[in-house]
């Protein structure tokens, strides 16, 4: 039977609309990357990577202290967040045969949805107010809290994919359960767990809102984690909303550095996952 022209036209229109949607979605991404490269590379130089910010009006200076500060904060976040997240994932996958597992799973999802600025407020009143000053440590803890749910759920999902007969084989050989969980299950799932950790890392690396009243920012070198510390996203924010052209240029350069760090992490994750995490064993 011949298709009516009307139905054929509708079919074609739908295809065109879908393609247009795909283009419209990809377009801003390309625009952002093009502008980052155009404006960022122009402002990027050796001084930017090695010097601290100059006072307003002086040309030059850089964000070296912010890059290092971000490194410190992210290191603290990873050291706190990843072990707790993985432990929680192990509990959910290997030990939670009760209602409490569901409660933890639900709270992890709640935590995942909490706006980052709200976590900033909570850490401010829990740590900063008590310590009486802003610090890299409090910023790291705020970011760690944001990493935990992602790491925990990724670990759980990966562990659940490990076939049970591997576990049973280990237990059957008389290997204690903790050893089985760590050396057999977690080891088998390690590629997926690392993927989850890096995704969580990439997600918090660009976070600004929780650092506003925890790490606070700093114009000078600071390597002491109990003092206010500069962070790359914070510095970008401050420079972007400032009225100075020189600072705007530096904000673009800082954004380029930040995005390069994050895209490298995401690409690494992508390569790790396409290589196949569990495909060999399951």
């Amino acid at each position: 039977m011949e298709l009516s022209w009307w139905r054929r036209a509708k079919n074609q229109a739908a295809t065109v609309v879908a393609i247009a949607a795909a283009i419209l979605v990809v377009l801003p991404l390309l625009a952002i990357f093009v502008y980052l490269l155009l404006k960022g590379i122009g402002a990027l130089n050796w001084a930017f990577l090695t010097q601290t910010p100059k006072p307003v009006g002086e040309v030059g200076g850089g964000m070296a202290n912010a890059i290092v500060g971000s490194g410190i904060i992210l290191l603290i976040a990873s050291l706190v967040g990843i072990p707790i997240g993985i432990g929680c994932g192990i509990y959910l996958a290997e030990y939670s045969r009760n209602r409490f597992g569901d409660v933890v799973r639900f709270t992890a999802d709640v935590l995942n949805g909490v706006p980052s600025i709200v976590i900033g407020i909570a850490i401010y009143s829990l740590i900063v107010v008590r310590q009486k000053h802003f610090s890299a440590f409090s910023g790291g803890v705020a970011l760690a809290i944001m990493m935990i749910p992602t790491v925990a759920r990724a670990t759980e999902e990966m562990l659940l994919m490990v076939p049970n007969n591997i576990r049973e084989a280990a237990l059957g050989l008389g290997i204690p359960k903790w050893r089985t969980a760590l050396s057999i299950s977690l080891r088998t799932a390690s590629a997926g767990v690392i993927t989850g950790c890096m995704l969580a890392f990439a997600r918090v690396a660009g976070e600004t809102a929780p650092l506003l009243f925890t790490a606070f920012g700093n114009q000078y070198w600071n390597l002491n984690p109990s003092q206010p510390t500069a962070a790359l996203p914070l510095q970008i924010y401050v420079y972007a909303i400032s009225p100075f052209d020189e600072w705007h240029r530096q904000a673009w350069a800082g954004s380029l550095i930040l995005i390069i760090m994050i895209v490298a992490a995401v690409a690494a994750v992508r390569i790790a996952t396409t290589r196949g995490t569990l495909k060999g064993v399951s």
Binding site: A21, A22, P83, C88, V114, S116, I117, N164, I236
Partner: protein, 359 residues
């Protein structure tokens, strides 16, 4: 997103589950789908019979992981308790009037949150209005229409969109999007749709419209990835059945796919809404930051998250601080409800662990 690529325990109706290397009989397969290792009671008894020195590390490890699980629970409790505790002053002083007061006057100690609530709601709904058709379109294109190679590329690009930090969206919004809006889109909208009252007044570029557009770009990846996941969960024979009746491809998508997936798509949309409501930095940078309620989308506004970001570290006086924390509390409760609804909807479609928020 990435985790949608991972094969699940539950057999995927569309793509056949990975073939196990060792083929296990049906009973064992059923056991493998259970969450925890089924330890036969005999094995359990053997483990119990072991000397205390070998049981101790086991118990210690069990307690350790339990402790980390409890800590997740404790963090949420602590956050909620802090929010309630620190906003007590403002809760007492203003009561429910806080949420309908239109005045935000830190100097005279008069605080009403309505302009911020209005700004958050309007910018988020504007974002949904733009993002939902785009993300559903892109998801349909990726799952139903496009060639395999392009599918991987587009999914990867959309994934990258989710990885861009919000502060970079803000930077781009200020220096690229806002001038474009000011010079091209806003004059055009004022001329064609000015009579509606939504597109009047001076075109600054920065304002509610810019915030809505930036938010839309940011939530497209969430809605698109969940929609894609839900669409792939629609059984292949649904498609085949509709096609066999002589439907065109579009009719197949409309009747066989979208109709089956609509609840899951709504779940994804609500999840996107949750992200939009709590988004801080990008919105703060482009919305203009003025606590006013204006009908025109060209006018500057203010959102709950951005007032906290801007004023929290400069707030003088306990009442001011407490009022800001109360806004944070309200934001937390709203996103909690929104996310819970979304998750239930998505879970009811994809079943269990999948469809988890990337936000």
């Amino acid at each position: 997103m990435l985790d949608s690529e991972h094969p699940r325990n539950t057999p995927d109706p569309v793509e056949p589950a990975e073939k196990p290397v060792i083929s296990i009989p049906a009973l064992a397969q059923a056991a493998a789908q259970r969450k925890t290792a089924p330890l036969s009671s005999a094995l359990e008894r053997i483990r119990r019979s072991r000397p205390i020195s070998s049981r101790l590390p086991d118990a210690a490890f069990g307690w350790l992981v339990l402790l980390t699980a409890i800590s997740v629970f404790a963090i949420v409790v602590l956050v909620v308790w802090q929010l309630f505790d620190k906003s007590r002053l403002s809760l007492h002083q203003f009561g429910i009037g806080f949420f309908i007061g239109r005045n935000w006057d830190p100097v005279n100690g008069d605080f009403g949150a309505l302009p911020f609530i209005y700004g958050t709601l309007v910018s988020s709904f504007l974002a949904l209005l733009i993002a939902v058709p785009l993300s559903v379109g892109v998801a349909v294109y990726v799952t139903e229409m496009c060639p395999m190679r392009l599918r991987v590329i587009i999914s990867f690009l959309v994934e990258l969109l989710a990885a861009i930090p919000s502060v970079i969206y803000g930077l781009w919004g200020i220096f690229v999007l806002a001038p474009v809006l000011r010079d091209y889109l806003q004059p055009f909208l004022a001329k064609t749709l000015g009579w509606t009252g939504f597109f009047t007044g001076p075109a600054y570029g920065l304002g509610m419209l810019a915030a809505g557009i930036i938010l839309a770009i940011m939530i497209v990846p969430i809605i698109a990835s969940i929609t894609r996941e839900v669409l792939t969960a629609v059984p292949q024979n649904q498609r085949e059945a509709v096609l066999a009746l002589g439907a065109t491809r579009w009719e197949m998508i409309r009747m066989g796919v979208l109709r089956n997936a609509r609840i899951g798509i709504v779940g994804g949309v609500i999840l996107g809404l949750g992200r939009a409501l709590g988004e801080t930095m990008a919105v703060t940078m482009v919305i203009g930051n003025r606590p006013e309620i204006s009908r025109s989308l060209f006018a500057p506004g203010y959102t709950m998250a951005s007032v906290i970001a801007n004023e929290f570290s400069e707030a003088t006086g306990d009442l001011y601080l407490s009022a800001l924390v109360e806004i944070g509390l309200a934001l937390f409760l709203v996103t909690l409800v929104v996310n819970a609804c979304a998750r239930l909807l998505v879970w009811s479609i994809t079943g269990g662990t999948s469809g988890r928020a990337r936000a």
